[in-house]
């Protein structure tokens, strides 16, 4: 007897990608709505592999998701599985604990959504028991482990649990528990969810898998993303990673130290993007370029960032299936000529506070708050939600802006 299933979690269906790459309509067409595309790939995988079940360990939807279209889509995917005889087991996590849309959707009988009380579902022909406890509300500060029933004798026991594990004190904790606690419960496999980065723990006879998010949604969810194909058989538990992402986010560093001409920079970008593209496990790479280093071109790079972005886009287009979402430029001159260059003197003046007098700060704050008022409400807090944050932002822009403006003046002079 062997029991095979796909384990995933944190699907966050229809949660949007956050990437400036999507400004390009063609790119948006290709990789847009990636969470959904990725979930379809997961279902395809279930069908190809003819697994026995699909396990979803929480956070199928975002909490704020209200669109019934998502639920209808999900229902359709569930029917694909159940029509192929594949069972589905779902626990709700912090995000979809109170999801309104699942309540309205009628799912096929073979889709089992665990309640908050703790149940064990036996799969008769397979000698498998699936245990699960759903979040009843978004915040579950206590461990859910006590709600799980003891393992069923003579059966393979699989537990589905949405948990932040031990977590760190800084972040909110969700149904905390330790690996040791889990291993001690006596199950063969713990299918976890919540943490977006994949982790696999083998604790004696018990395998604990945090599968990670199946589709990264922004650059902070970079790297290859996957679901886990699990087989429980006579030889115990084997675990295999299967890649499901449509687009893979990566921060791609471009070192321009000592590069002296523009073509050298372009070449460095080509190399970096090419290398990153080769390592991608998804259909496409979405790269955030981080151009770093000390180069005499620094002022020009800062000033001509639009040209540089153009070069990066061209490079990505040439490489194929690679998109650039942003180019961060953090470059400096190899050794700033100290001394009596007027720009240097200006820089020194700014450094010594001539560019950040109270009047300048007040002016900057005016600019910031005037803009803030005009921004869409969703963005306002990004630019400082309270006085302290606003002051911090002013400092940030004074520093960043002075450098940028000085770089421009420098670059113009170099051109002159």
């Amino acid at each position: 007897m062997s029991f095979r299933f796909i384990h995933t979690a944190d699907v966050h269906l229809d949660s949007p990608l956050l990437s400036l790459a999507l400004r390009d309509a063609d790119i948006a067409e290709m990789i847009g709505n990636a969470t959904r595309q990725s979930f379809e790939k997961t279902v395809d995988l279930c069908l190809e592999e003819a697994v026995d079940a699909l396990m979803i360990a929480g956070d199928l939807y975002d909490g704020e998701l209200r669109s019934m279209k998502t639920a209808v889509f999900f229902g359709g995917q569930m029917r694909r599985l159940t029509e192929a005889g594949i069972g589905v087991f779902i626990v709700r996590g912090n995000h979809d604990a109170e999801s309104v849309i699942t309540k309205q959707l009628s799912l096929p009988d073979e889709v089992h959504v665990f309640s908050g009380r703790g149940e064990a579902v036996s799969i008769p022909d397979k000698d498998v028991a699936v245990h699960g406890v759903s979040f009843g509300k978004p915040h579950m500060t206590d461990s859910l482990l006590p709600k799980y029933k003891p393992p069923v004798e003579g059966a393979a026991n699989i537990g589905l649990l949405h948990t932040s594990l031990a977590g760190s004190a800084e972040h909110d904790v969700y149904a905390p528990c330790s690996l040791a606690d889990l291993a001690g419960h006596g199950f063969d496999y713990w299918g976890l969810g919540h943490i977006h980065k994949r982790q696999v723990h083998a604790k004696g006879p018990c395998t604990v898998v945090m599968p990670g998010i199946p589709q990264g949604r922004h650059v902070n969810e970079a790297g290859p993303k996957s679901v886990t194909l699990v087989e429980i058989g006579a030889q115990g538990v084997t675990v295999e990673e299967r890649f499901t992402a449509v687009a893979q986010f990566e921060r791609v560093g471009v070192a321009v130290d000592g590069v002296e001409d523009w073509r050298g920079v372009v070449r460095a970008i080509d190399d970096a993007v090419g290398a990153a593209r080769d390592g991608v496990r998804a259909d496409a790479l979405v790269a955030r370029l981080e151009v770093r280093g000390k180069t005499p071109l620094a002022p020009r790079l800062r000033r001509d960032r639009d040209l540089l972005v153009g070069e990066a886009l061209q490079s990505a287009a040439a490489i194929g299936k690679a998109f650039i979402e942003a180019v961060a430029i953090d470059v400096g001159l190899p050794d700033m000529p100290s001394g009596h260059d007027p720009i240097s003197e200006l820089r020194t003046l700014i450094a010594s506070g001539a560019g950040s007098t109270d009047a300048v700060r007040a002016g900057a704050l005016d600019l910031l708050t005037a803009l803030q008022e005009q921004l869409p409400a969703e963005l306002r807090d990004e630019f400082g939600a309270d006085d302290a944050a606003l002051r911090q932002k002013v400092d940030h822009y004074l520093k960043l802006g002075s450098e940028d403006v000085l770089a421009r003046l420098e670059a113009e002079r170099a051109d002159a």
């Binding site: 229809d14 999507l22 600019l367 822009y397 004074l398």
Partner: protein
């Protein structure tokens, strides 16, 4: 940076020139003055230095001696304390070279130059009058922040403010307070659109729940409405049943009451009533039939008995009918009518025949048949008669035509003979044609015209040679001077004249200068009253004398005459005052004195020059006059006026050549004319010969063309005659051939006539006609003979027909007689036809009656059959009636039918009752009438009330139906809406677009804030930077200005003006002056002060650059020059200062002021260098 050695290897007028500034002085200023005369190349030097630093200018003007590819400058430079040997050549790239001539990067220089551009350098640190003034003016005239201008000037960085504005403008593209059109506004609009689109497209869970609820509610309502309707409908059905049952029950009662009295009546077998009715009807009909048939039988029997029939004639029926059938009777009738006329006809034919025979001259007894000719003979005769006329006529015609042709031949022969032998004009015609083409007369006229035209042109050409006059031969004989001779004259004369004019101009200049000097001297003497040396020495002598006089009055030991002493003292005082005044004045006006001295010396020099020039001019003029005389005599020799200038001679000689050429043309034309004349007369002779030969008279006086006209007329006439003869000969030929043709035809036709005559005799001999009969006779006999066979035949035919008719008539009469006999009719002498008619009439009557008798017989048979049929029917009907009457006793059909109807009625009632009962049971769904009765008992309301309720229910039911329909549709709609919710990704994608838009806005906002706040910070720092530099600069500039003006101005400050800050000079004591109002010299001093201050500011933070100044002290007086040199010398402590001048006295002043702190270098004398021709640097 410092210039240690400067090489102008090939540049401008310099070749391999090098100047050394030596090592940097350790403790004294690095101050150099380059002295050189005008044109020594000071400006060149200054420009060369800029070229060394920044590259030789693309459009350099210093290539007048050494072209671009060879231009080369260089030097030993000290940059950042290290020595470099650099060379600059003129090239687009790699123009800076090292000592090994290998390219060196310009970065070597820019390390020291920093941001200073060529323009900046020239404006600030490489000054001449122009750049000093331009730079200064731009400072004063520029609007805006003076601090910025000074700063810009000092740093070489300008436009920072403008660039910051550009940065701000870039930021403002995203957002700008107080404006509406910017990227942010657009982005927000897009966001709102996306939001709207999303809410339009989306279906939220709550909405979905609402949809589900709507569907459920609609379903509930629908079902409830249906239930209510079902109740009403059931009640309504119940009411209908009760009402129907009640109605059935009352009908039943009525029926049963009607049925009760009919209990005794037997039940009617099915179909009996109808059968009985049918039988009754059939019985009546059958009886009627029987009666009618019987009557008919009787009547017919009687009628048949009454008929009589003639059987005798009926027995002869066939014979009688055959009488007319065989046509015998018809032929009899015809014969009776025709025979007399046919006999008459026969007689007339016989008469005719007799006549014919008589006309043929034969005996009337002769058989006409023997007169008939055999057919062949007749045909031959007919043919011969027919041909005869043609044969004889053709014979006559042929002979006639033969004669006519012979006559024509004779006429044609005569005509040909008459024409005789015509003259041959072919030769003449060819000559005439050739001479027409040559056109001798026209050619003559043309050449004569040409000669006249050329002669006129020659006259005109000669007239153009005025003032020369004479004939063409004289003109040709002239020997004109050669072109080189003329140009030599021209050159000599004009050279001399120009020289003379130049000398004269020099003389005038000298005279002007003399006048000016005299005027200057006079004016100096007049205006300043210059005291000359004599006056001065006089005053001094008078003072000495006065002093001696006064001193003499004071005796050391003698008495003192106070009054005398006072007087001499006063005198001494006066003379001393006067001397002082004179001395002071002379001292004060020493310059004027020097000027006066110089002027006087100059006047003497000028006067000497004037005199020398005058002598030279006189000599020159003599030379010129001599040359002019030579030319004049040459002109006279040519026959021209003496004063004709050599320049005009070339034109005259051209015209002479034209006249001579025209003369040659006239000559040629005259020769042509002679040749034409000779040609024409020989042609006339040839024509005359030819015409005479052709027999034409020649008119010696007429022109060739006239003779030609005549010759042509003659030729034309000759041609016409030839053509006439040719046609006459043709006619003759035709006539001869015609005569031959006619002879042949006449012979042939005569033979024809003879053969006819032979045939004729032969034909006649073969028949009774005999020989010697004319054709006309024979023709007539033949014509008469042709009627003979017809008439004979006609006669025979008539005979046959008459015989036939007689035979037919006899046969008919015999037949009639025979029949009449058989029928027993006496024939006697009655006309056979009337007898026959009588027979036929008897037969007709008999036949008719026989027929009638047969018909009656048949009708009688038929009536009998009918009678029997009717009796049979009646028997059957009676049998059936008897059957029925056995059940329903009755005496006749009427009775029976009445009884049967009663029985039928009873059965009908019975059936109705059954139906009603069934209806009742069905309506009430009961099985027995008792049950039904019990059911009806339960409903107590009367019918009226029930009907009212039913009507009410009907109306309610209609309402129910409407309600149900409504709810049904509502439910369907809700169900469809629910089912149509799809799982498409549109909403998710819109949301994603919206989030992307937000990210985009965030990024742009980030850029906006970085740029706008960065610009703000940079702006502020820039202001601080300028303030810092301005304050030190203003201090330096103020001090320098005070020094240069020798404290005429003590300091500089700024004051706000309309367009920004104004620069103000503060005067010693009190008062101030805005820079723009200062005198030109003072302004120049101010400009220099600003430069000196700028230099100080510049070198404070950076490596010093060599400071060049090119004679900028022109407007400064010696003192101010001295102060300036002092300042420059001080400046030279900070960096190398190089002053270029052509004023010796400035070198002196500098040496006085600076001592050995200044090094004076002399530039080579320009005279030693070949002078540039026209291009001046």
């Amino acid at each position: 940076m410092r210039l240690k050695r400067f090489d102008l290897t090939r540049y401008g007028l310099f070749t391999d020139f090098s100047i050394s500034f030596g090592e940097r002085p350790v403790s004294k200023p690095d101050f150099h003055i380059l002295y050189g005369a005008n044109e020594a190349g000071k400006s060149t030097l200054r420009s060369a230095f800029l070229d060394l630093l920044f590259g030789i200018e693309r459009q350099s003007i210093y290539d007048f001696k050494h072209p671009y590819p060879t231009m080369r400058i260089g030097g030993a430079l000290e940059i950042n304390s290290s020595a470099r040997e650099l060379i600059r050549v003129k090239k687009e790239k790699n123009s800076l070279l090292g000592p090994d001539d290998q390219p060196v990067s310009d970065a070597v220089l820019s390390a020291a130059l920093g941001s200073v551009t060529r323009d900046g350098y020239e404006t600030m640190f490489s000054l001449d009058d122009d750049t000093l003034q331009q730079g200064g003016d731009s400072i004063l005239q520029s609007k805006g922040d003076l601090g910025q201008l000074l700063f810009s000037a000092a740093s070489g960085l300008s436009d920072l403010g403008r660039r910051l504005d550009e940065v701000r403008a870039e930021a403002h593209a995203f957002y700008r307070a107080g404006t509406r059109r910017h990227d942010l506004a657009d982005a927000k609009k897009r966001l709102q659109e996306l939001k709207d689109e999303k809410s339009k497209t989306d279906l939220q869970a709550s909405q979905y729940a609402a949809l589900i609820k709507l569907e459920a509610d609609a379903r509930t309502h629908h079902e409830a409405a249906k239930a209510a309707r079902d109740i009403s409908r059931a009640r309504r059905q119940h009411l209908s049943r009760v009402l129907a049952a009640r109605s059935a029950r009352s009908a039943l009662a009525v029926l049963q009451a009607k049925l009760a009295p009919m209990a005794a009546i037997q039940d009617l077998p099915e179909g009996w009533l109808a059968e009985a009715q049918a039988l009754s009807t059939q019985s009546a009909a059958a009886e009627s039939e029987a009666r009618l048939a019987k009557e008919a039988v009787e009547r017919l029997t009687e009628e048949r008995g009454a008929l009589e029939v003639d059987d005798t004639i009926l027995g002869l029926k066939q014979d009688v009918e055959r009488l007319s059938d065989l046509g015998l009777e018809a032929r009899f009738r015809t014969a009776v009518a025709d025979i007399p006329s046919r006999k008459q006809e026969h007689d007339s034919v016989v008469t005719e025949l007799t006549e014919i025979i008589q006309r043929l001259g034969r005996s009337s007894s002769e058989d006409p048949a023997s007169l008939l000719l055999p057919t062949a003979t007749e045909a031959t005769l007919n043919g011969l008669v027919g041909r005869k006329a043609a044969v004889f006529e053709a014979d006559a015609t042929a002979r006639e035509e033969q004669d006519k042709a012979k006559a024509r031949l004779a006429r044609a022969a005569k005509q040909v003979k008459d024409f005789g032998d015509p003259a041959d004009v072919a030769g003449l015609a060819a000559l005439v044609k050739r001479m027409r083409a040559a056109g001798y007369d026209k050619e003559m006229a043309r050449i004569e015209r040409q000669v006249a035209t050329l002669k006129a042109e020659l006259d005109a050409a000669l007239k153009r040679l005025v003032p020369w006059s004479g004939n063409i031969d004289t003109l040709a004989a002239l020997v004109p001077p050669t072109a080189s001779q003329i140009s030599q004259w021209q050159e000599t004369l004009s050279g001399l004249e120009i020289e003379l004019r130049d000398r004269q101009r020099s003389l005038d200049d000298r005279a002007d200068e003399r006048d000016r000097l005299i005027a200057d001297i006079r004016s100096i003497e007049a205006t300043t009253g210059v005291l000359d040396d004599a006056t001065a020495s006089g005053a001094r002598a008078r003072r000495t004398a006065a002093w001696q006089a006064h001193r003499a009055g004071i005796q050391d030991d003698g008495p003192v005459d106070i009054d005398a002493l006072r007087s001499t003292a006063d005198a001494f005082e006066n003379s001393m005052d006067e001397d002082d005044r004179v001395t002071e004045a002379r001292q004060r006006q020493s310059t004027d004195v020097a000027t006066l001295r110089e002027a006087n010396a100059a006047l003497i020099r000028v006067n000497a020059e004037i005199e020398k020039l005058g002598t030279k001019i006189a000599a020159q003029r003599r030379l010129l006059d001599g040359e002019a005389a030579v030319v004049a005599s040459a002109m006279a020799e040519l026959g021209l006026t003496r004063d004709t200038p050599p320049t005009a001679l070339a034109g005259w000689l051209d015209r002479r050549e034209q006249a001579l050429a025209k003369h040659a043309e006239v000559r040629d034309a005259l020769a042509d004319l002679d040749a034409a004349r000779a040609g024409r007369s020989s042609a006339a002779a040839r024509l005359a010969t030819a015409m005479t030969a052709a027999g034409l008279a020649v008119d010696e006086d007429a022109s060739i063309d006239e003779n030609l006209d005549r010759a042509e007329a003659e030729i034309e006439r000759g041609n016409r005659l030839q053509s006439d003869i040719r046609s006459a000969l043709t006619t003759l030929e035709q006539a001869q051939s015609d005569v031959e043709d006619r002879d042949r035809a006449a012979k042939r036709i005569a033979a024809d006539r003879r053969s006819w005559e032979a045939e004729w005799c032969a034909a006649l001999q073969g028949c009774w006609l005999g020989e010697r009969r004319s054709a006309e006779e024979v023709a007539e006999i033949l014509r008469v003979l042709r009627a003979l066979p017809g008439e004979t035949e006609k006669r025979d035919d008539l005979n046959r027909r008459i015989e036939q008719m007689v035979a037919d008539s006899e046969r008919y009469v015999a037949a009639v007689v025979a029949l009449a006999d058989k029928a027993g009719i006496p024939f006697e002498s009655a006309h056979p036809l009337s007898v026959a008619d009588g027979l036929r009439a008897r037969l007709d009557d008999a036949s008719r009656n026989d027929n009638l008798r047969d018909i009656k017989q048949k009708e009688g048979d038929k009536a009998n059959a009918e009678l029997r049929g009717a009796a049979e029917k009646l028997r059957i009907i009676k049998a059936r009636f008897d059957d029925m009457a056995a059940r329903y006793p009755s005496d006749g059909f009427t009775d029976l039918l009445e009884t049967l109807r009663m029985a039928g009625e009873k059965a009908a009632y019975r059936a109705q009752i059954d139906r009603r009962e069934r209806e009742l049971l069905e309506a009430l769904e009961c099985t027995s009438l008792d049950d039904a009765e019990a059911f009806l008992e339960k409903e107590t309301s009367d019918n009226h009330a029930l009907k009212a309720e039913a009507a009410q229910l009907d109306s309610e039911l209609a309402d129910h139906d409407e309600m149900i329909s409504e709810h049904f549709h509502a439910h369907q709609t809700a169900r469809k809406a629910l089912e149509s919710v799809s799982g498409d990704a549109d909403v998710a994608r819109i949301e994603e677009s919206r989030r992307t838009e937000l990210l985009d806005i965030k990024e742009q906002a980030d850029r906006y804030l970085a740029l706008s706040i960065g610009a703000l910070a940079a702006d502020n720092a820039l202001r601080a930077f300028r303030d810092r530099h301005r304050s030190t600069m203003m201090k330096r500039a103020g001090a320098a200005f005070a020094t240069i003006t020798r404290n005429g101005f003590t300091d500089l400050t700024t004051t706000p003006g309309n367009d920004g800050e104004l620069l103000v000079g503060l005067k010693a004591g009190s008062g101030s002056m805005v820079a723009s109002e200062m005198s030109k010299g003072t302004r120049f001093q101010l400009y220099l002060a600003l430069r000196i201050a700028g230099y100080g500011e510049f070198v404070q933070d950076r490596e010093a650059l060599p400071f060049f100044a090119d004679d900028i002290l022109e407007t400064f007086d010696d003192d101010r020059s001295a102060e300036t040199f002092q300042l420059l010398s001080e400046m030279a402590h900070q960096g190398q200062v190089i002053y270029l001048t052509h004023h010796r006295h400035l070198c002196d002043i500098a040496e006085q002021v600076c001592g050995d702190a200044v090094t004076i270098h002399a530039l080579p004398d320009p005279a030693a260098i070949p002078q540039p021709l026209s291009r001046k640097a």
